[in-house]
Symmetry: C2
Subunit: 111 residues, 2 copies
DNA sequence: CTTCAGGTACGATTCAAGTCGTACCTGAAG
DNA sequence: CTTCAGGTACGACTTGAATCGTACCTGAAG
């Protein structure tokens, strides 16, 4: 029941370059913007983002977000949860999430 | 003597995606970090950044930074000046430059 | 058990981006 | 004028990233 947390970098090890690279992609930025908009920071299903891309590509994007240290992935076997690492991000890069939150929500348009 | 200012996007038209894409590159981030560190915001020569890349590639990177709206380029014909658009960036993305400024300055290492 | 949806692994493809070589332009200094 | 350093234009190359097809795994529900 309690899924295992997939590994990501420590809070102090977050790299600004990796973060910018992660947020350079439209779809990943959309995911993070949606996560940042929900102040409750509840765990969220990976298929709740309506991404206009295949499952395999979504797996790829979530992995990039996790390896950049922006989200936690919780593996339940046949489904997966995702949670924003808000505290770690705010500690290392204060104000970053506010930048995403200030964006117009309708920016999920495909390139 | 007075060089002409090369065109870039208006302050209100700055796109977060383009900004993140611009800052995803190590060399461009190095340039912007150095610019952000100098609070005087003086115009600066394009060859004053010690980038370990060829002239043509530097031209390319400065163009990307300008088209993202992060810097102004001033063309003098046989040399070029560059200036951080601090006010515009702060207005549109408050706190962004602070993130760069907080980075360790020795992050100019080539990949 | 079987079925099924969510997710992953691996490989292939496609495309954008970083890089440089060659040639050329520009203005300043001899 | 010529020379020279800084910069650009264009093309070519290379690498990385995004995407998907196929096949497979996992746990829950019949």
């Amino acid at each position: 029941m309690t899924g295992k947390n997939l590994v990501g970098p420590e809070a102090d090890a977050l790299d600004l370059g990796a973060v910018f690279r992660a947020l350079a992609d439209e779809h990943r930025r959309s995911v993070l913007t949606q996560l940042a908009a929900d102040r409750s920071d509840n765990e969220r299903g990976c298929n709740s983002f309506d991404l206009p891309i295949s499952k395999q590509t979504q797996t790829h994007h979530f992995r990039v977000l996790r390896e950049a240290g922006l989200v936690d992935e919780i593996d339940y076997g046949n489904r997966k949860g995702i949670r924003l690492r808000r505290a770690d991000i705010e500690k290392r890069f204060p104000g970053l999430l506010a930048l995403l939150g200030a964006e117009p929500p309708g920016d999920t348009a495909p390139r």
